[in-house]
């Protein structure tokens, strides 16, 4: 079974129709526009990209919150048509804003109970036992101190622990974590990332980790997928990508990320001009070409670059590597 991918996404599209006054068709916002990838059992993959590049839409489509416009998702070899309860119990979801992700009117017990009630999981005693189990797993101990609390009584880090607990309460095989630490304080971030890593390893979970912050990636995942304007432009193992970025966009992105260093104050950063294109009307050819300083006239602005593999296991959609 291990050789079969946990989740396999083929040519996935998610377009949103844009209408004027509710009925006149204006166009499609191509939030996800032809994305392919596989994630193995127990593998953590990071999707990195700027806001509006479609990474959250991708996460939601994988979760089944959106129906794909085109393309297929296979989960353990099974094609997902209508996403039933079974699939929902296989995928856990961790959101960005821990306070918003928890219903403010429910206490921790109720929050953790909900997924089990909805999925008719276990008996009353089993559910109670499971709640304690996951709370201990996310280190909200002693459990009795937390089980009756409402979200507003918890700190940001504790809230995010509850969110993580909820995401694993049904024993899923895949976790989708959409910017799980970006709203937390620096000192708590590491704690939560380490917790996520522990949980992932303990249950051999596949993880889709979505972030705009590359600096946290290396502490967590094995592969990075770089997303730009609704497409994946580069896929590579973490170390390889950081030390040998191939796509001009990836390079710019890495250059822009500061490490704490007093020297920074005396340097200007090279940043590609302009802003990411509108997904309503993306440029033809490579979507990065209007901002790319290495673009090949007549090719990059006409043809959509296919995926090349200049280095083994390192895929890049850029004509520079044909």
């Amino acid at each position: 079974m291990q050789d079969q991918a946990l989740i396999s996404v083929k040519n996935l599209h998610k377009w949103f129709e844009l209408r004027k006054w509710g009925f006149i068709h204006v166009g499609f916002v191509r939030a996800v526009d032809g994305v392919d990838f596989d994630i193995q059992h127990g593998e953590a993959v990071t999707f990195v990209g700027e806001s509006g590049c479609g990474k959250s839409t991708l996460a939601r489509t994988i979760l089944g919150l959106y129906q794909p416009t085109k393309g297929e998702i296979f989960f353990e070899g099974k094609r997902l048509q209508r996403l039933g309860r079974w699939y929902r119990s296989q995928v856990g979801y961790i959101q960005q804003d821990p306070y918003g992700a928890l219903p403010p009117f429910m206490n921790v017990r109720r929050i953790l109970l909900e997924p089990m009630v909805v999925n008719r999981w276990g008996t009353r005693a089993e559910r109670e036992r499971r709640i304690r189990e996951v709370l201990e797993e996310v280190k909200l101990t002693p459990v009795e101190d937390f089980i009756g609390k409402f979200p507003h009584m918890l700190s940001g880090g504790q809230q995010q622990r509850v969110v993580i607990a909820r995401s694993i309460v049904l024993n899923p095989k895949l976790l989708v974590a959409d910017e799980p630490v970006s709203m937390l304080d620096a000192s708590v971030r590491v704690e939560i990332l380490q917790l996520l890593q522990r949980v992932q390893e303990a249950h051999n979970l596949g993880v889709v980790y979505i972030t705009h912050d590359l600096s946290t990636v290396r502490y967590f995942s094995e592969r990075i997928f770089v997303m730009y304007a609704a497409k994946l432009v580069e896929k590579a193992p973490v170390r390889e990508l950081i030390h040998n970025p191939l796509h001009p966009y990836t390079r710019a992105l890495l250059d822009a990320i500061p490490d704490p260093d007093p020297e920074n104050a005396f340097k200007f950063k090279e940043v590609p001009p302009g802003e990411p294109p509108s997904l309503l009307n993306p440029p033809p050819g490579c979507r990065f070409h209007p901002r790319c300083k290495d673009k090949i006239e007549g090719l990059c602005d006409r043809e959509i670059p296919p995926e090349f593999e200049p280095v083994p296991n390192h895929y890049v959609s850029c004509w520079l590597y044909k």
């Binding site: 000192s187 971030r189 250059d255 822009a256 500061p258 704490p260 007093p262 104050a265 950063k269």
Partner: protein
């Protein structure tokens, strides 16, 4: 060099239903002209309150507001509210509030909003003010035709630049930036940092940058201040701070910053920052500190360390 901003024993307490919050508790520092200082700390450590205290933007539930503030030689605390508004705010110090880019009025054109300080503080005519806005837009890198656009027509980065333009438009000496890039993407963030650096050199500005993002803060910092539970725990040159933080809190904080290029074992600070209502006696960081010893039950002094660094810790006494 004469200090542009001098703060002595500044206190700002708030009254709440649960008790008095000591948001800023006895903060003293000096800031030389044409330097950039960053204030880092966890959320709720009082760094934004410090900015508001300097600008005298006090909420209704202010309990205590004492200390001395000298701005460009003016004793700001002796001014009346009206004098302060006329002489200091936007004349000497301007302010880019946290998430200000999302606070732009959606139904007023960006240009008119940016011109507002000129109309109020400089009593300029509208056309004159808009000319000045166009000038400032060029400086911060906003296309000049954006003057006639509405905020929702601008991207996040452009709105943030417009807000920075609003702070620069009256040519102040000191600009206080509260988390100016934290909601933005990395590339946009780098762009804005570039712009801020360039503007600082061009106009000999002084910055106070408030942020919880230590990596980004290093882009601008010449001086660094670390706040914990309403107090300064470390103050020094950025060069020293980023390479060799001294206070145990600064050390832990620095160890928790993920780095892209170098491999390092990440660390985190266990526990929670103390409540600012009834903070612990003695060193406020002691309950979470890995180097705690018996002396920590007493309030630590502000120690003058070598290279002009100041550390509030018994370890260096």
């Amino acid at each position: 060099m004469e200090a542009l901003l001098k703060v002595e024993d500044l206190k700002l307490y708030f009254r709440t239903t649960k008790g008095v919050v000591q948001a800023v508790d006895g903060v003293s520092f000096e800031l030389a002209s044409h330097t950039a200082m960053v204030i880092v700390g966890e959320s709720g450590c009082g760094k934004s309150s410090l900015a508001k205290a300097i600008l005298r933007l006090l909420p209704r539930n202010t309990h205590t507001y004492t200390g001395k503030i000298y701005i460009d030689g003016i004793d700001a605390m002796s001014l009346s509210d009206e004098q302060f508004r006329r002489q200091i705010r936007w004349q000497k110090i301007s302010y880019v509030a946290q998430a200000a880019m999302n606070a732009l009025n959606p139904v007023i054109k960006v240009g008119s909003q940016v011109a507002e300080p000129l109309l109020i503080h400089r009593r300029m005519r509208k056309e004159e003010a808009l000319r000045k806005v166009v000038e400032t837009f060029q400086i911060v890198g906003v296309p000049t035709d954006f003057v006639d656009r509405y905020p929702f027509e601008l991207s996040g980065g452009m709105r943030q630049r417009a807000v920075i333009a609003m702070a620069l438009v009256t040519n102040p000496k000191l600009v206080i930036l509260d988390e100016p890039t934290s909601a933005l993407d990395v590339l946009t963030q780098a762009n804005i940092m570039n712009a801020l650096k360039r503007i600082k050199e061009e106009f000999e500005l002084t910055y106070i940058l408030i942020t919880h993002d230590i990596a980004t803060s290093s882009e601008l910092a010449e001086r660094a201040m670390v706040m914990y539970a309403g107090q300064i725990v470390e103050l020094g040159n950025a060069g020293h701070f980023y390479l060799e933080p001294l206070h145990p809190y600064s050390q832990k904080l620095m160890a928790s910053v993920p780095t892209l290029r170098e491999d390092k074992e990440l660390d985190f600070i266990p526990g929670q920052p103390p409540s600012l209502i009834n903070p612990p006696a003695g060193c406020r960081f002691a309950p979470r500190c890995h180097k705690r010893f018996s002396a920590c039950d007493r309030e630590p002094p502000m120690v003058d360390y070598k290279d002009g660094r100041k550390i509030k810790c018994h370890l260096y006494a």
